[in-house]
Symmetry: C2
Subunit: 440 residues, 2 copies
Amino acid sequence: MATGIIKPSNISGFNELLPEEKLVEDRFLNRIKSIYELHGFTPIETAAVEMLETLEVEGEITREIFLVSRKVHDAGESSEAKLALHYDLTVPFARYTAQNFDKLSFPFRRYQIQKSWRGERAQEGRAREFYQCDIDIIARDNLPLSCDAEILTVVDKVLSTLEIGKHLIRVNNRKILHGFYSSFGLNEATRVQVIGAVDKLAKIGESGVTKELAKLGVSSEIAQKILDFCKRKASPADLSAKMSDLKVDSQLYAEGLAELSKVLELVPEKNRGSILIDFSLARGLDYYTGLILETYLVDHMNIGSVCGGGRYDDLASRFTKFKLPGVGVSVGLTRIMSAVVSKKLANFDKRVPTKVLVSVYSEEQRKRCNEVAEQLRSLNVSTEVYFSDAKLGKQIEYADKKGIQYILFINAETGAMEVKDINTKQQSPLNNLEEWASKI
Amino acid sequence: MATGIIKPSNISGFNELLPEEKLVEDRFLNRIKSIYELHGFTPIETAAVEMLETLEVEGEITREIFLVSRKVHDAGESSEAKLALHYDLTVPFARYTAQNFDKLSFPFRRYQIQKSWRGERAQEGRAREFYQCDIDIIARDNLPLSCDAEILTVVDKVLSTLEIGKHLIRVNNRKILHGFYSSFGLNEATRVQVIGAVDKLAKIGESGVTKELAKLGVSSEIAQKILDFCKRKASPADLSAKMSDLKVDSQLYAEGLAELSKVLELVPEKNRGSILIDFSLARGLDYYTGLILETYLVDHMNIGSVCGGGRYDDLASRFTKFKLPGVGVSVGLTRIMSAVVSKKLANFDKRVPTKVLVSVYSEEQRKRCNEVAEQLRSLNVSTEVYFSDAKLGKQIEYADKKGIQYILFINAETGAMEVKDINTKQQSPLNNLEEWASKI
């Protein structure tokens, strides 16, 4: 039926991994899950779709939403709710929490690893379908700063466990920004816009930001003070020393600075090394109210932030009257993976999880081969029995191609076993399966 | 902002699990993955969306497809390809294989665990969003029967590992059906329709099937023979004995019977116990060409088949000119989970992965608590430090509510540790963290 062949092609922005790449992604996913679970975060999973009204948040109109509709009911029917794919995991999490409020106990510490979808123009690192690995801690009414510290700790652990080079965690506190800007008499609405303008610093430069600030009625003198402030950076150890020269007449500023100090103090020493306090960090999204953070791969700054998050006063105000402060972070695994693939930051030699290929001399021998494979599997060794009794050379080539390290041969007459290590090319007798399995 | 509150509600057919249920689902997912990987299947993941033309397979029009479109480009633009959510993992797998043909090596053994979406009317066990856990082995040109046996073996292992009661694997072979029906002179097109009619036996009964067969021009005498044949059942051990009385004049029939015997012989003894050869099994989908199988939970037959699959001569003929025979199965995890939840087939006491809650007497003590927690985590014990220094009773209640078994107390003055087991209510001194961690 060659006539009806559909040429399969990629859909722009919906990238798929080859098996050797997917194995790396799965290893990353497992390590991230493991860290989340070791910290007692519990998994949840929400539907891929939400009601459109749930997703249409004010200020979020720039995110291009994918609508979902049933094919059979095209004909102008409107009896069904309008649905759309979620564009992040925060809104679904807020909705889920409000919906199941009585069945959850607080603080609620959840992780959520799922795909999200955004109809942005596809470009490197900006996929339309992407994995997010989120954690959040939310509480009723009050959430102590120790939770912010735990989130930072977990972020540091996650980036370290991936073994893809050094990372940098930039942190700031929205109260510091609001406090500093309010010391110039700027009102809240203007401050929010100032934060938005400063957020573009890397993109539009100092002169660009000055122009935007002028439009907001900020004098060039104050604009300069704001830009100077943004240049300040500090490590957790020298934060107070670096800021002692600056006198800011704002209670909020002092509060923010104290919060940040407290949070950093609660991060274990060994997880503090990658943290940089950076007052230019603003985070475009406007719901953060305290700590904000962004993370970069030091050798690949150009791919942008690979995870971001912070603290918000009230997560689910759109869905419930209860006040739910929270702190959380989202790890952008797809962006990380696209760097890992394009810059070869991992080993892609293995194309299967298989450790051992049991070679088959003849079909009469298959039952015995299956038995040996079953023994190995019961010892937790991933094992495949070759699917035919093709020439041995072909079987070895297959193992080599797929990155299977060991080939096991069973002598058809004596039943004696030998094993060949594809890496060292050495072949040796195998007398004790159990002992060998525990070694490899 | 109580005025703007959106009441969150379920979207019909898109069911979400509570944390205690999701933990069970995750345990199932991990066990299924583990069995797949122990057999050397490699994971792949395809995009949630496909081009609509990829999904519109002839004969599949009854499946209601969810279309996906970008919100911003509503205004009648048609420059972008029409997209839709995939309704199974087989079509995307075929497309992926054809697309990456040169980069894959064959036999290609993949597993794929993802959600699929169908716009069917929602009802119990028929979700619109559901997990499928698929494995397939595909080869170029020829695929030996030992692969069919491996698929059956893996299915038996998967259903056993979930520990949700007995299961039944019904098997048949399409060649047996075609051969038997052709012995009455029925042509292929009619035979396909006969298979479709017989597939409805459980729903419409014998008289219903007889009526449908009459419409296809099948005489009542032959219809009776077909129905009698459908009543035949056998275990792997007595297949040939049970069929020896029946003389069927068809090469295809003999071939099918020999194939089925051969496949069952290659399934290890210990994985054969749940297999029933059932000639009424037809599988509605028409692409199977050899082995077909369906699996049921014996104590919950009413929820229908929880996994199905079989062998096909040519997987990807719509996408490539290469011939790719395959055999595979899809485990319907969401259907299984809906039975597990509604019939309480698992323990839902744990609402978090956490094993140990470290209690906090006062905020001064938090650093020490964090250190102990870190030690436990390094020993692979999921540990949470209580988020405040609330009264001990409240901390114990929290652990109890979430199903955290152990609470660890650190004496504020001496630093001595004690641990309370919530199940036994016993509290005892804890001198060696490492030793204790290895025990729990």
